[in-house]
């Protein structure tokens, strides 16, 4: 029976079914008939400017470009007839006229579309004896290297900029032979997805700058990996030679990262090769570090923690893990902590409020698969610089917005967005709660659903924007309410989460958590929480959370991949607690200055490419990988170190022979658990009194974790942020700080002087001082702050 949505065509004698309206090249690609192309890309609009895909279509007078010819019923196509081949070879000859054919010195050589196609369609020798054109290379930043003489003007990079990155920065200027691709004014390409143009470029005109001239493609081995720097869990290939990771390229996974990779995931491997890798175990004696062998280091670590615990047992021990550790490491860490009798373990290092943690879901998640985010009709994003925090989730939401979805943001400052935002509510952290309450009140009024008592402050009067957001969420067939990193860092996070939950319930929207790191969800499932066991069951008694175990100092700590000065919500308190402790054991890939200062034993562990492991992304996808390269020096995979540490303490259950066995234990514990954002108990958040100026400690995109902070090329981009103070013009005026270059910043007992920038994007009452950045204020990421003239 004929399907109306399909047409049947003949290609090279083969009957092919294709979607009505599809371009010919889509139909042939689907059945594996190869047509050469340069400008066509399945994720970009059709440009039809390279002319390489010319094919013969019967009844058409001339060869037609397969990428721009829609299929029609009964169409008869010849992709390799003399006419088609002649057209393709002719095009190829023209494309090669100005191409330098410098393949031996080109990074693309060996993986070049032009080279591949020229093998099949190019002539043996060139008939072109005239001069070739030479194009100067603009500097477009530290990530992408340009060799524009090689460019064949396919404009994939230009279309990527406009259609995917949402920034029109690259362009084709000039005309004919004088056309060049460039930003014209040579500023860095400011997209957090910019590196993708390297993969898109079919020639060697745009290549990776950090990788430049380091290897030939055929020397590389590739190993699948998963990016750990945000909740997406993008899939990539790590390309290695010997024991070194030389680059990362996207691994297609339509349901997660499609064909893209954020720059942070692409270039973070540079941090693995940083000069301050921790290469040998070290112990501190009398204030000086001494390298030692593993057995001694483990013995000293175990003994130190045992002595610190003393007669109170685990009660005096605290365990902090970075949420980008592997699930295996996290699971063994919790086993170790609980085996030692401690309930003080946590991975929520940047969370500001734990008062409603009992209401946190057992298996928190995005609320939907990653790919579904592009299908929403309405969204409310609370406290997130989404574009920089979760670049590829932002990309999905951007697609939704371009389709007409009503996306609203509620943030303490107005972040740049690369898509149309329906409503942008900007309010200081103090007012953030009342703004969200106003949306909740609008919904309570409209839906007739009563909010839990005390959730919405009395006298909350929704404005026009609040009512509009509420209406969009209710009317949207698929709507979502998302909580981001700035909400999590808020001292009233419990209340924000409770309001978000009510808004989602009352509007029929789906509540989602933007997992801040690659394994935030995995850490919750592995039970690296003071109140939950692996698999989400409630712990018998809740221990101290990440904040409390530092505010109520323990005598011993074990840190997994944590740089306390940069990864904790309140670095000064963290440093003081660790400083007072009798024993601090740090499992770390790096010799961080703060660990050298605060730790007593340093155990070198593998970075993300050097260990087998598993991560659970924001959408609850479990993804495992094998180590691509061995850990450097004496470093060992983290799960092995924890296992041996478990043996050192004589705790049961540390006999796993490989990481898969650890994973199986964790999977067994989570067998009955599906992603679900339902609250296990009614939230009872405390409502902290906040007043006056409040710091907004946003973590800049390239400050999120230890390895990213060491990726030099990322730090050289415009997204690198130095410690500074951004103040709303009204506040600057009121404090008499207009024209002042330096201000004194006070958080509690902490004082420092930082440069001031008066910034209209900042809401009055917000003071934007980045967190995770060396030299920034060491106080709470979100909390009262005083700004004075320096």
């Amino acid at each position: 029976m004929a399907d109306d949505s399909k047409v049947t065509i003949q290609v090279d004698g083969q009957t092919v079914e294709a979607r009505k309206g599809a371009m010919l090249i889509e139909a042939t690609d689907a059945v594996g008939i190869d047509i050469p192309r340069f400008c066509y890309h399945k994720k970009l609009s059709v440009a039809a400017n390279c002319r390489m895909c010319l094919v013969e279509v019967e009844k058409a007078p001339k060869p037609l470009p397969a990428c721009a010819t829609p299929v029609t019923e009964g169409m008869v196509v010849h992709t390799a007839s003399p006419l088609a081949r002649g057209a393709q070879k002719g095009t190829m000859e023209f494309l090669l006229i100005n191409h330098p054919l410098d393949c031996p010195i080109c990074d693309q050589g060996g993986e070049c579309e032009l080279q591949d196609v020229a093998m099949g369609y190019g002539g043996d020798i060139s008939r072109y004896a005239e001069g070739k054109r030479v194009v100067p290379n603009p500097d477009i930043g530290p990530l992408i290297s340009t060799d524009l003489t090689r460019c064949i003007h396919c404009t994939r990079c230009v279309r990527f900029g406009e259609e995917i990155a949402g920034l029109r920065e690259l362009g084709a200027t000039g005309r004919g032979e004088h056309t060049t691709i460039g930003t014209y004014i040579k500023h860095a390409v400011a997209s957090e997805l910019s590196g993708n143009v390297i993969d898109l470029c079919p020639v060697g005109a745009l290549t990776s700058k950090p990788y430049r001239f380091t290897a030939r493609p055929w020397e590389l081995r590739q190993q699948a990996g998963v990016a750990m720097h945000d909740g997406v869990g993008s899939n990539f290939w790590l390309h290695t030679r010997g024991s070194r990771v030389l680059r990362a390229v996207p691994r297609d996974n339509e349901s997660i990262n499609e064909v893209w990779l954020a720059d942070r995931d692409r270039y973070s491997y540079l941090g693995l090769n940083a000069s301050d890798r921790l290469l040998t175990p070290q112990v501190k004696r009398d204030g000086a570090w001494h390298p030692c062998d593993w057995s001694e280091a483990l013995r000293v670590a175990a003994q130190g923690l045992r002595e610190a615990a003393g007669e109170e047992g685990g009660e005096q021990l605290g365990f902090l893990a970075a949420p980008n550790a592997t699930a295996e490491e996290l699971f063994l860490l919790q086993k170790l902590a609980r085996g030692l009798g401690s309930a003080h373990l946590d991975h929520r290092l940047r969370q500001g409020d734990f008062s409603a943690q009992a209401a946190e879901p057992r298996h928190p998640w995005l609320g939907m698969p990653v790919a579904d985010l592009e299908g929403v009709d309405a969204a409310l994003v609370i406290g997130s610089h989404l574009r920089k925090e979760q670049p590829l989730l932002n990309h999905r939401l951007r697609k939704a917005a371009l389709r007409g979805a009503q996306v609203a943001f509620l943030n303490p400052l107005e972040f740049d967005s690369n898509f149309p935002v329906a409503h942008s509510l900007v309010a200081s952290p103090v007012a953030l709660v009342t703004e969200l309450a106003a949306v909740a009140a609008a919904l309570a009024g409209a839906s007739g659903k009563a909010a839990p008592a005390g959730l919405i402050p009395e006298g909350t009067a929704p404005g026009e924007a609040h009512a509009a957001i509420a209406a969009h969420l209710s009317e949207g067939e698929r709507a979502t309410v998302l909580l981001g990193a700035l909400a999590v860092a808020h001292p009233a996070y419990g209340q924000l989460a409770a309001l978000a939950r009510f808004i989602a319930d009352a509007s029929g929207a789906c509540l989602g958590f933007l997992a801040p790191a690659g394994n935030s969800v995995g850490a919750a499932l592995a039970g690296v929480l003071p109140h939950r066991l692996p698999g989400g069951d409630d712990a018998a008694a809740s221990g101290l959370d990440a904040r409390a175990m530092l505010e109520q100092p323990r005598r011993g700590y074990l840190l997994l991949g944590v740089e306390p000065e940069l990864d904790c919500w309140d670095p000064a308190t963290a440093a003081s607690a660790l400083d007072q402790a009798a024993c601090v054991v740090a499992l770390s890939a790096f010799t961080s200055p703060d660990l050298l200062e605060l730790a007593d034993v340093l155990l070198p562990i593998a970075g993300y490419a050097e260990t087998s492991g598993t991560a659970v992304n924001a959408a609850g996808d479990w993804q495992s990988w094998n180590g691509a390269v061995p850990p450097p020096g004496e470093a060992r995979q983290g799960w092995k170190v924890l296992r041996v540490l478990g043996n050192e303490f004589g705790i049961e259950g540390f006999a796993q022979r490989d990481s898969r066995e650890v994973l199986e234990e964790l999977r067994a514990a989570c067998a009955d658990l599906a992603p679900d954002n339902a609250a296990p108990s009614a939230p009872t958040p405390t409502q902290p009194v906040l007043d006056g100026l409040v710091r907004v400690g946003e973590v800049p995109i390239y400050a999120c974790d230890a390895v990213v902070r060491r990726a030099a090329a990322l730090q050289a981009t415009d997204d690198h942020v130095e410690a500074c103070v951004h103040l709303a013009p009204a506040d600057a005026e009121q404090l008499g700080l207009n024209g002042v270059a330096q201000v004194s910043v006070t958080q509690g007992d902490l004082h420092l002087t930082l440069p001031l920038s008066v910034d209209a994007r900042v809401a009055p009452g917000s003071v934007w001082i980045p967190a995770g950045v060396p030299g920034s204020s060491r106080g709470p990421a979100c909390g009262p702050v005083t700004i004075d003239k320096a």
Binding site: E162, R168, L170
Partner: protein, 164 residues
């Protein structure tokens, strides 16, 4: 990136651009880019600075690069200062067959400059352009908004004498 630079455009330029904008739907402001660049160029002594192109981009709500693309594509936009008079000589196929080489040689000799150059006194710029669509009366050149056709050395001399 670029600050809002529309204040670089004079009130008269803005009024002229607005008149062009009126020809297009409100959501198609970029349609007026060529006219806007011409107006802006004329108001600036015949050439465009990057700042002026940015100003046009801001005024029309376009990405700056898209304006650069237009300004670099068409030969009538100048990105460097030019003389008070610009002589655009067609050297494309029809004019070539009808003697454009002699036209260029004569002008070069009279003015002492080559193609793409300006006389030291800033009076005249000589420019080579592609086909301007007047092949029937080749060889030809464009001066201002006027075509001068069926060129001969006498006609060229006459033209040059008439230029301030």
């Amino acid at each position: 990136m670029a600050e809002n630079q529309t204040e670089l455009l004079s009130a008269a330029s803005c009024a002229a651009i607005d008149a062009e904008l009126a020809k297009y739907p409100d959501d198609q402001r970029q349609s007026a880019v060529m006219a806007a660049l011409t107006i802006t160029q004329d108001a600036n002594g015949g050439w465009l600075t990057r700042e002026l192109m940015d100003a046009v981009a801001d005024y029309l709500g376009m990405p700056a690069i898209a304006v650069y693309e237009v300004a670099t594509f068409y030969s009538m936009y100048e990105l460097k200062p030019v003389g008070r008079h610009k002589l655009c000589v067609c050297t494309n196929i029809s004019c070539l067959l009808r003697g454009s080489e002699e036209v260029v040689a004569h002008l070069s000799e009279r003015l002492g400059i080559g193609l793409g150059e300006t006389t030291p006194d800033g009076r005249i710029t000589l420019k080579e352009v592609e086909c301007l669509g007047a092949c029937a009366n080749a060889p030809m050149l464009q001066y201002g908004d006027r075509y001068v056709e069926d060129l001969t050395p006498e006609k060229l001399d006459q033209l040059l004498e008439g230029l301030e």
